[in-house]
């Protein structure tokens, strides 16, 4: 397939403040939808560039070719000023226009319309209201709605990311959450100890993670609203790799208290522990399946790491990956139809992110430009995979679509960024 390369097209995140992550689209798709987001009618001074955020969201999805406002023939602010012929001339399929007004008590109201140029009709209209602090959320909501209207897939621009940043000396670790475009970073935990494997609760209100202290690894759960941190597991040996059950009531994790890393499930209310696997090889990296009855995990039982699925109740285990020397840290995409995992084709080969179609048994390597790719995490709509990789000797975040067609880099300005975890839908 012909792929349009938008190499090193740097899309700066629109906030003028120091958003640490920027986004580079390194590969888009040939069949992307031409769309124009016309500058909105705004009050004199706007704290956020709403339509700029929408433009970046849509562009970053890889599904859209977004026209620059400089290339537009006019900037219509209302339906009356919109001339469909102008936009046909520019080969645009869709146009978004909108206006923002200030309401009393510091509230803003955003009204936008999406027009189908070919059929000359409005196909979406929405009015959203919020405080100044919520303007970015409103922008992402607009992106979500436009994306869903035109692709049939629910948008995930409003979802959050969690990741870990480190200084070059690796003496300070920050657990950070941000918007899906890397803006509005918020440090939720700082430690001199290494933090890894952040995992979102299904309601997006808690994060489980591992902290590697001098005495060993421990698993914590932190409430994001209050910052309250609770110790879940500090047994002898490894305590690691947390994954929430789909209902959020249980946590799967890896413990080696009985001598060897095994998968366990703990009920977070009753603190009842259940051992799920029992094998002398390494068993780790559990991830709950949407049915709540199965867990996928990595095991070295065949000699090198491969992905397996276990029925929690019966303990029945099935091997899922057969292709490649090293398959690990699998995550599920699209209701469990796909696995996304860290893949090494043969010993000594580079580590890349691959997807495995569980119905057809087809493995596809998705990444090629980055190396030491790890920690894949799937967007809640199952479209994009965020992962960590080495790029120019630094650890950065990158993203690739589950079909491999769209590729993005999120270079950070300083230090290393690792361990991304894409949060759930929040609305």
């Amino acid at each position: 397939m012909m792929k349009r390369i938008l190499s090193t097209l740097l899309l700066l995140v629109c906030l003028p403040v120091k958003a640490e992550l920027t986004i580079e689209i390194t590969q888009g798709i040939a069949s992307s939808i031409p769309i124009s987001v016309v500058p909105f009618k705004t009050p004199a001074a706007m704290p956020e560039d709403i339509e700029g955020i929408v433009r970046n969201d849509l562009e970053r999805s890889g599904h859209f070719a977004v026209l620059s406002p400089d290339d537009m023939l006019s900037h219509p602010k209302s339906e009356e000023d919109l001339y469909f012929r102008d936009w046909r001339l520019l080969k645009q399929d869709y146009v978004v226009i909108g206006s923002i007004s200030q309401l009393p008590e510091g509230l803003y109201q955003v009204r936008y319309q999406l027009f189908d140029i070919f059929n000359e009709r409005e196909i979406l209209v929405q009015t959203l209201k919020g405080t100044e602090a919520q303007l970015r959320d409103i922008a992402h909501r607009v992106s979500d709605a436009v994306y869903e209207q035109l692709t049939g897939i629910r948008g995930a621009f409003s979802s959050k990311l969690a990741y870990v940043t480190t200084n070059p000396k690796r003496t300070k670790f920050n657990l950070v959450i941000s918007d899906s475009d890397g803006a509005r970073e918020k440090v939720v935990l700082t430690s001199k100890y290494s933090i890894f494997s952040p995992a979102w609760s299904p309601d997006g209100k808690r994060l489980a993670y591992v902290m590697l202290e001098d005495t060993g690894s421990k698993v914590y759960i932190q409430e994001l609203a209050t910052g309250k941190k609770t110790l879940v597991s500090a047994n002898k040996g490894i305590n690691s790799a947390p994954s929430f059950s789909p209902d959020g009531n249980k946590l799967a994790l890896t413990l080696s208290k009985d001598g060897n890393p095994e998968i366990y499930v703990v009920d977070l209310t009753t603190r009842h522990w259940l051992r799920v696997t029992n094998h002398y090889a390494i068993d780790t990296e559990p991830n709950w399946m949407p049915d709540g009855e199965h867990i996928i995990f990595t095991s070295g039982r065949s000699g090198s790491p491969q992905i397996y699925r276990v029925n929690i109740e019966s303990g029945y285990i099935e091997r899922l990956t057969f292709d490649g020397h090293y398959n690990a840290r699998a995550r599920l995409a699209q209701d469990g139809r796909f696995l996304v995992l860290v893949h090494q084709s043969k010993k000594g080969a580079p580590f890349h992110i691959a997807s495995l179609d569980l119905l057809r048994g087809l493995l596809q390597i998705l990444t090629s430009d980055t190396y030491l790719d790890e920690s894949p995490s799937v967007s809640p709509n199952g479209v994009m995979v965020m992962y960590a990789a080495k790029h120019k000797k630094r650890s950065i975040l990158a993203a690739v679509s589950v079909d491999g067609d769209i590729k993005l880099l999120f270079p950070s300005k300083s230090g290393d960024v690792r361990e991304p975890a894409w949060g759930p839908y929040l609305n």
């Binding site: 690796r170 290494s194 890894f196 494997s197 590697l212 005495t215 060993g216 690894s217 040996g237 490894i238 690691s240 790799a241 890896t254 080696s256 001598g259 890393p261 390494i282 780790t284 990296e285 990595t298 070295g300 090198s304 790491p305 090293y326 690990a328 840290r329 860290v342 090494q344 010993k347 580590f351 030491l372 790890e374 920690s375 080495k390 000797k393 690792r418 361990e419």
Partner: protein
């Protein structure tokens, strides 16, 4: 069960005493290495400055293999390479001769592969060393293993030169 608990408590207190007297834990091996060298080059002090050399210290000085506290592993491997058996045998002998000695075995990995799998692999490396020392006569209660996975590299770098130094187990004496 009760006995175990009692034993664990006494072990803990031993570990605490060990830490307090040495004033540091992980650097201890390195310190002994340099002080041995210093004593060779310094002039003979007056009679007041003479230290009593304990038997363990004498033995320590006698076997230079004990100065080697790191052993290395192959990629994705956790078995002991033949060239490190002499080193581990020396440590085992020391542990047998000094039942009060306590050791933490730290397992480490290079950056390739996943963070969690490497955490497990690091533990495997530490445990392989632990088992080897037990087979050679060390008491299990003298040994504790811990994994730092790929999180605490000895050398930062993205090539085999750095990786080979990071795939390691460190023998860290908590008490001599």
């Amino acid at each position: 069960m009760e006995l175990n608990k009692l034993f664990a408590v006494s072990l803990l207190s031993l570990a605490i005493v060990g830490c307090a007297s040495s004033g540091g834990t992980t650097d201890e091996a390195a310190t002994t290495e340099t002080s041995a060298e210093e004593s060779q080059t310094q002039g003979v002090p007056g009679t007041e400055g003479i230290d009593v050399v304990t038997e363990e210290q004498a033995e320590m000085a006698a076997n230079p293999l004990l100065d080697q506290t790191t052993i290395y592993f192959g990629y994705d491997r956790s078995e002991i390479r033949p060239e490190f058996k002499d080193v581990l045998n020396a440590h085992a002998e020391y542990l047998v001769a000094n039942p009060q000695a306590r050791v933490v075995l730290e397992g480490h990995c290079d950056e390739r592969g996943t963070v969690e799998y490497n955490l497990a692999l690091g533990e495997r490396r530490a445990n392989t060393v632990k088992r080897y020392l037990i087979v050679q006569g060390a008491n299990p209660s003298q040994l504790e293993s811990i994994s730092f996975g790929e999180e605490r590299p000895a050398e930062v770098g993205g090539d085999e030169a750095a990786w080979s130094k990071n795939r390691r187990a460190e023998i860290s004496y908590q008490a001599r």
